[in-house]
Amino acid sequence: MTDLRICHLYPEHLNIYADRGNIAVLRYRCERRDIAFAVRGCGPGDPLPEADLYYLGGGQDRDQVAVAGDLVARSGDLRAAVDGGAAVLAVCGGYQLLGHGYRGHAGDDMPGTGLVDLVTEAGPTRMIGNIAIRCELDPGRPRTVVGFENHAGRTHLGEGVEPLGQVLHGHGNNGADGGEGVRTGRVLGTYIHGPLLPKNPWLADWLVGASLERRHGTVALDPLDDALESEAHRVAERIAAAG
């Protein structure tokens, strides 16, 4: 039987924006298609479980700092997992931890894993509001992602690193270059929560497909009834456009 294994990193610390909603959506969309679903938590000091998808959410500043060192110590293991075909989804604070680190205003610097070539620095104001972006994860198939952003960090991608999408409405990575999030291979990072996946079921399915490839190759995913999801997406996009 096809099965998907998820590792939820620091579920006790990084969960501020209802991150369990993302996990619930992945579970629902797998189980509806008879794909067995298993999620394992990994806290500070725990051995890193083998998984098809590693999930990192956002936390309060204090909680984020509390786990940053532990995560950085696992950078090699995470890199090996990604090289072995595992996918990563990192949201908000988790997204910042994917990069080289966070430069705070005064002494509140935070190290990063360096898994992706990006860096974040504290900005003078928080970027808060509804957001919509346009992505093209599969060439020739543009889609939108909708949600909410709330971050003080300004994230800058390294030379040649692609954002997850282009901002239609909202701030994005830094409010200046029009990019939002990051995508390299099967590694996704984004400031968009809401949570991210419920209103963007196509992205949830993309992640399920990308994660399954490691052990199961290309798996055809039957369509599900997404009438409510589509309506919620449409309303959120309209609200984001209204500013």
């Binding site: 500043d61 909410f148 419920p198 209103k199 309303v235």
Partner: protein
């Protein structure tokens, strides 16, 4: 220069105009006007209250707690209150403008506004209740709210604090402070809920151990590493017994003695509200235990808190549900009555609700699903709410999406006998009340409080 009394009179006149123009009860506007021309108005007006001020703040329970305290004090005192829940500086100033002959102030204060309002009101007693995650886009992280409170908790006032909340218990409190909490493991939860906010020791960062979890992260906590623990309780509830949605019996132990009380309100969060009110009355002094008990027993729900209202065609129970901890308690309380229910779940994303609706995923709607007969979702994010309920296990066949609030209510009421239960965010409740007021079946909100 315009003298202060003339400024107050002008602001008072504006309240009357606002009300006559149908623009609302003037619960914020006159204060906003007055503060613009007299920034120290809150201090000047509140210092005229001969009996002083009692102020309180919390994430959840402010309006109910203030109303309970008023119910204890009202027979003996003429009170000035911001009863309709307008709890920013403008709302407190409006209340002060509106009561010329009061002698004692009882004010609820927004948790983010407390840092500004406590020094302005200079309360005799300051109640600090729970801190839960709420409207992250507006308040910021919980730690930031706690930091604001830390800057004012050690002031020239008697602190009354919720000892069951580790974050609140960690605040500095001067001499004469009182601590309250629940002491009845029989009503404890089996474990800390997933949405618990403050599970780490404020002193050393170690994971807290709970001998009993009562609500969210509230309980009998202690740190296994540094010995930090819940302070001894000056006011405690023991022997809690729920009588469905009809009421709750508790024994309240206070420095004045213990008393068995029957409250006509459901839910453990109302036990916390009652304890806060009793402890503040104890700290204020001069209120006999019998008066406190009578105040709790005669209490009617604050508006929108399990409040029964006529809809024209039937009856509804309005239940404010605006953040994860509050909504989870509402769901736990609804489960006290196992009969299947017809629900309206209304989700707005206006500024006063919090524009970020992520929080609905931290609410355990999964526990609600088995008790649902039918649901109409409504509000600006009606479809999103329906989607959340689908993932919680509510059968999509018994759900309808109706963004118009009054239409949603009518649909739910017409679908069967008995009241429809309306779980709603703050602005959705005000809009719904507005619709029912225009039908002439409920009084306007500034009179209902």
């Amino acid at each position: 220069m315009i003298p202060f009394p003339a400024k107050v009179a002008a602001a008072r006149a504006a309240a009357g105009l606002s009300r006559r123009a149908g623009a609302g009860g003037g619960t914020s506007l006159p204060g906003k006007l007055l503060l613009r021309i007299a920034p120290d108005a809150v201090t000047r007006l509140s210092s005229r209250l001969a009996g002083g001020v009692i102020a309180l703040s919390a994430t959840n329970g402010k309006t109910t707690t203030a109303k309970m305290l008023a119910s204890m004090l009202e027979p003996e005192h003429r009170l000035c209150r911001n009863a309709a829940g307008a709890n920013l500086a403008s709302g407190v100033a409006s209340a002060l403008i509106g009561c010329r002959h009061a002698e004692l102030g009882v004010f609820e204060v927004d948790e983010a506004a407390l840092e500004e309002l406590a020094p302005a009101l200079r309360p005799r007693v300051l109640g600090l209740g729970n801190l839960f995650r709420d409207q992250l886009d507006r308040y910021g992280e919980l730690e930031l709210v706690a930091a604001r409170w830390r800057r004012i908790s050690d002031g020239p006032w008697r602190i009354v604090r919720n000892a069951d909340d580790p974050l609140v218990a960690a605040l500095p409190a001067g001499a004469g402070s009182l601590s309250y909490g629940i002491d009845d493991p029989a009503v404890a939860l089996p474990e800390l809920p997933h949405a618990a906010d403050s599970k780490w020791c404020a002193a050393c960062g170690e994971r807290l151990h709970y001998d009993a979890v009562y609500l969210g992260h509230l309980g009998a906590w202690r740190c296994p590493a540094c010995g930090n623990a819940r302070p001894p309780l000056d006011v405690a509830a023991t022997s809690v017994r729920f009588d469905g949605l009809a009421g709750t019996d508790i024994t309240v132990a206070t420095p004045l003695g213990a008393r068995r009380v029957r409250m006509p309100l459901p839910g453990l969060y109302n036990v916390y509200n009652a304890l806060a009110a009793v402890a503040m009355a104890c700290a204020a002094g001069g209120v006999p235990l019998g008066r406190m008990a009578a105040g709790l027993e005669a209490f009617g729900p604050a508006f929108g808190r399990f409040e029964r209202v006529a809809t024209g065609a039937g009856e509804a129970v309005l239940v404010l549900s605006k953040n994860p901890a509050g909504a989870n308690e509402v769901i736990r309380t609804l489960a006290h009555d196992p009969a299947p229910k017809r629900l309206v779940v209304a989700l707005n994303d206006r500024i006063a609700d919090g524009r970020d609706v992520s929080w609905i995923w931290d609410v355990d709607f999964e526990l609600l699903a088995p008790g649902v007969e039918s649901v109409v979702t409504s509000g600006t994010r009606a479809a999103e709410m329906a989607m959340r309920l689908k993932y919680a296990g509510v059968d999509p066949d018994v759900m309808r999406v109706e963004p118009d609030l009054a239409a949603a209510l009518d649909t739910a009421v017409a679908a069967g006998d008995g009241p429809a239960y309306v779980l709603t965010t703050y602005t959705a409740m005000l809009e719904l009340r507005g619709a029912l007021t225009r039908r002439g079946v409920v009084p306007p909100y500034w009179e209902a409080a």
